[in-house]
Structure formats: C-alpha cells, structure tokens
C-alpha cells in the first residue's frame, strides 16, 4: 500500500536556474508537487498520468525516499518515508526507463550485488534468481558482461535487479519509454504479474494506451496539481470525449 497525504514538494531555485527557466527573478521557488493525495492498494495497478514536467517523477522519487516532501506525509507498506526510510526501501522495487547497469559487471554479479544490498540470504537468492531467470529466459547470458548485451537483454536484467528481493511494492517510472514493442510487452507482462501476486504497483506514463490496458486506478497530474484520482471505470464514466487520449488532452488543456 502507498498512501500520499497532502504532499507538496518545493525546490529552491538558484539564480542560474531562474535565468535558464526564464522565470521572474522574484520567483525563487518551484512548486513541483502541490498538495497531492492518493492511495495505491495491493493487488491493483495505479497509473500516474501526466505530461512531461507535471511532477510524476518527483512524486515517485518521494515515494522511494530519494526526495523528502516539503509538507504532507507518505507511507509505503505502512512505513513513513521520513521516519523509516530504510524500511520503505526494503519494501520497494524501483525501475526507471533507464536500464542503469554497470557495463563491466556480469549479469550474475549485478543481481548478486542488489541481492546483497537487500540482505537476501544465499539460499533465497538462488531460488529467486532461478525463478526470475526462468521466467525471462536469461540463463544463456547470465555470465556475460552487461556491455555485451542487447538493449532487450539489459532490460531483462533491470527487471530482475528490481524484483530480486520480491518487494511488496513496485514503482515503475515511465518503464516503457523509448523501448521497442517486444521489450515494452515484457514490462507490461511483468506489471500484470506483480498485480496478480498481490503487490502494490504504481507506474508513471504519458502513454494513454498503457493506462487503459493496465490500470485499475489512476491519478492525473498536471502542473504539479492532482486533476483526477479514482478508478479507471470512474474516469471512463465521466469522460466527455470518445477517446482516452482526447479526454486527457482536454483535461490538461483546460487546466493550462
């Protein structure tokens, strides 16, 4: 379970940043997230939807304890992100659009590294690794160095790295962005598996097709504010446009 309660995040802007953003000199802060509340339940897929720069990544980073909320509270799996950040991270798997792997290590070495960071006992690690390798058909390239892998293979390694400690909560930050159809499908299959296993899944995207095919619940974020929070069915029921994408554009366009 992930719960956000009136969460805001404010970044102080340096003079250089203000200049680069072309904003007013008096505007010394940037409100990246403005009073956002929502809940992601176990066994359901929650989509965080919004255009680029809406604040999706900032929310996910706060959930993953990389950033601290300026106000409000976040709890993950029952643990507060400020008071018990380590417990939060132990419950979490985080996957971004970037495969982010170490080129000079082998697949096995990388998986072992993240398993060790998550304090997994050797026996459990072996069993979990084999289970995931079987699922993703990875045994063949397990001893190969990352630099020698294709982007699809790297994505698989990235999935195993995220899931090796069998986390009850999984965060996907635009997981299919820039991926080919085959790899995108593998990720979508993984998200469904996580839901079927009863995990709490939150993923950010701006692809409305993915939202429609995967989500149980969704939140629409635009210009740091929450514009919709509810189930997919509720969203579809209040739609004025025929297509999902048109409705999204209409909603965010009206807000602009």
């Amino acid at each position: 379970m992930i719960k956000l309660d009136n969460v805001s995040k404010v970044f102080k802007l340096s003079r250089r940043q203000r200049k680069e953003m072309g904003s007013n000199v008096n505007n010394r802060i940037l409100k990246a997230v403005d009073n956002v509340s929502f809940e992601c339940k176990p066994g359901r897929v929650f989509s965080l939807v919004g255009p680029n720069g809406a604040g999706k990544t900032t929310i996910l980073r706060m959930i993953a304890t990389m950033l601290k909320p300026t106000s409000g509270e976040i709890s993950v799996n029952g643990y507060n992100t400020i008071t018990l950040p380590k417990k939060v991270r132990e419950s979490l798997g985080f996957m971004s659009d970037n495969t982010a792997l170490y080129d000079r290590l082998t697949v096995d070495e990388i998986i072992k590294y993240y398993a060790d960071l998550n304090d997994i006992a050797y026996h459990d690690f072996k069993a979990r690794k084999n289970e995931l390798y079987d699922l993703l058909d990875m045994h063949e390239f397990a001893s190969r160095r990352i630099a020698k892998l294709s982007s699809g293979m790297k994505q698989k390694v990235s999935i195993v790295r995220t899931m090796i400690h069998n986390p009850p909560v999984v965060v996907f930050d635009e997981p299919t962005s820039g991926l080919d159809v085959m790899t995108s499908r593998a990720i979508i299959r993984l998200i469904r598996n996580c839901r079927d296993e009863g995990k709490t899944v939150i993923f950010s995207t701006h692809r409305m097709g993915e939202v429609q095919s995967l989500s149980d619940d969704l939140a629409i974020i635009h210009k740091s504010k929450l514009y919709f929070n509810g189930t997919l069915k509720e969203f579809e029921a209040q739609m004025e446009s025929d297509y999902f994408e048109d409705e999204f554009i209409k909603l965010t366009g009206e807000a602009s």
Binding site: Q17, M66, K86, E90, L92, F94, Y113, D116, L117, R161
Partner: protein, 398 residues
Amino acid sequence: MKKTFVIFQKELKDMLRDRKTVFFMILFPLILIPVMMISVPKLFSDAEKKEQEKQLNVVLFGTEYSQELTAHFQSAENMIISMETDTTGMEKRLSNEVIDVAIVISNDFQSDINSMTPARIEVYHQSTDDMDVTKKKIRAILNTYSDSIIQKRFEMLQLKEEIVHPLDISFENFASPREIIGKMAGGFLPYIFVLFCFMGAMYPALDLGAGEKERGTLETLLVSPASRMEILMGKFGVITLSGLASAVFGLLGIFVGITQTGSNEASKVIEVLSEIIQPETIVLVLTLIIPIAVLFSALLLSISIYAKTFKEAQSIIGPLNILFFVPVIVGLVPGIKLDIYTALVPILNISLATKEVIAGTINGWLLVEVYAVMFILAFASIFFAAKWFNKEHVIFRT
C-alpha cells in the same frame, strides 16, 4: 557496515576491470617513472657525448700575433682549424653554421702578454641548443693556455704558486649521507605521491560520482536499503584505496628507477636508500600519505557528486590539481622548514615532514602536530562529503 563492504567490493571489482583506471593507478607510475628516470638522463648524457665528439670548425684570425696560442688550438682534439686574416662575412658564416667558432686574436696580443697585461681574444659563436659544449671546449683550451702563461710568469718572477692561495680552507660536513640524500629525496618524494595520489583517486572519483549519476545507476543505489552514508563510505573506500595504491606504486617506480639506472651516483643512492628504507620509515611515510589520500578522495567525490556530468566534474577537478601542488612546490623553497607554523599548513606540512622523516631528523612533536592537522582535515572532509551527499539539490542537481 555490511552494506558498505558490499558496495566497496563491487566498486573495487568494477574499477579493476576498467583498463583506464588500472593504467593510471598501477602501470603509469610503475612503468613511467623508471622509464623517465632511466631514459631522460641517458638521453642527456648521449646528447652531450655526441656534442663533445662533434668536430668543431674553428677559424682563427690574427694567428700571426700569437703562434703559441695558435699551436694550442691546432693540438686540440675534435677541431678543424683554419687560419684566415679577413673577418669580412664572419658573422654570416656563423649564423649559416658554415663555421662553429671564430676567434680573433688582437694585434697587440703578444706585447700584452709580455707586459703582463690582459691580452684580448674575441670568441664568436652561435650556441642555442648544443648545451654550451662549443663554449666549454674553447674555454678549456684557453684556460690551458692561460695556465701555461701563469706558470711561466711564476718561474720568471721566481715565485711559488702558493702565493696566490693565502688560505687553506677545509670544509667538514657533519651531515650524514642519509641526511643529505634524505633531504634531497624527501623533497622530491611528496611530488610523486601527491601527484600520483591525486591522479589515482581522480578517475575512480569521477566514475563513481558523476559517472554513476550520468548512467542513472546512482538512483538504483539510492532506492536500495543502503543508507547514504553506507553508499558514500563504500565509494570513498575504493577511491582512497586507489589514490593510496597509485602513490605507493609511484614510490615503487622511483625505487625501480634508481636500482635500474646503474650509474655510480645511483649505487651511492641505493646504499643510502637501503639505510633509509627501514620498516619504521616506510610506516611513517605511508601514514603521511593516508590523510592526503583521504582528503583527496573526500574532496574529489564531493565535487564529482555535485557535477551533473562526467565532463563537468573533469572541468572542475582539472584546475584543482594545480591548487594542491602549490604547497608541495613551496616545500621545496630553500629555508622553509617544518616548524609549529608550517606544520599547520595542509600538504605543505606533509611535504616538509616527509623530508625530515627520510633524512631521519623529524621532531616527534611536530610530527604529531602534522598528523593532528591532517587527520582533523581528513575527517572534516569526510563529514563534508557525507553532508553533501545527503543534499537533494546536489544529488538531483538540474
């Protein structure tokens, strides 16, 4: 602690698989220094030998004014002597390198010699890159001639040579060879270990900070159960080890260089070095390198983490290199010694203390002061790096 070790192990493995880092950390100091120590002096001595053996084209003008001097030149080795009377075009022939030296003997040369007044000789040459060998050769011939004249004058005046040497000076140096060579080598050693320590720590720091940020792998670490401090210490340990290893390999490189030169001077140095290289000296020098490695690692990692990209980190770290070398150079200035004030100046204190340790003249209390200053600074730099690593605007700088 366990996670720090996990990160340390992984970073070390990753670093050792990087050829560039291994080259800068091990091979560069271990090969480059001996190669430089052997080849550069050999290059100089070969070039000087070649110059010495080179035949000089010498033109003498006014030989009719001193047959004796002419005979001196004619008997010299490696010289082709020609005698001319007209100096027209002499300068052009010298600048075109048709001739190497032109010597003009003044027309009252012999009468000046006879009257015991200085006789004038003009020597024209064009020396730029021949190590002054031409000038040295001509001066040697003229000195021999001058000595023969003085000898004749002493005989003529029935004087003893001692008359021009009123003092019999004897200098006794009580400094042991260890002190002399130690102060010389001790001044040079900090150059090596500061340079290699910085270079050895630089590349891993760039890779483990800005490099990880750029590749996105830092984010995967930040969401792991490892705390920021554990991540920092794991990375910091590898960078420090790399800096230390590089400095030690640099010193080993010097030792290999000295033992391989094979010159007489080198054998004397080896003899003294075997006296210097005692376990306690090695331990003392190593303990002086440790705080420097810690300081460099913490600062380099802080900069690297702050930078958005590898390139940005490189552009900040580059000029810093010079900043760290200023105190090392100041340590070589004659007259600057380790005292209660210089012991307070970071890096300069290490430079001066190394000199004293190698020479065997270190004052225990001053050494304690140096350690105190450097370890306080090293811990402060780790503390700063830890604080820095916890700042959101540093880690997620846009």
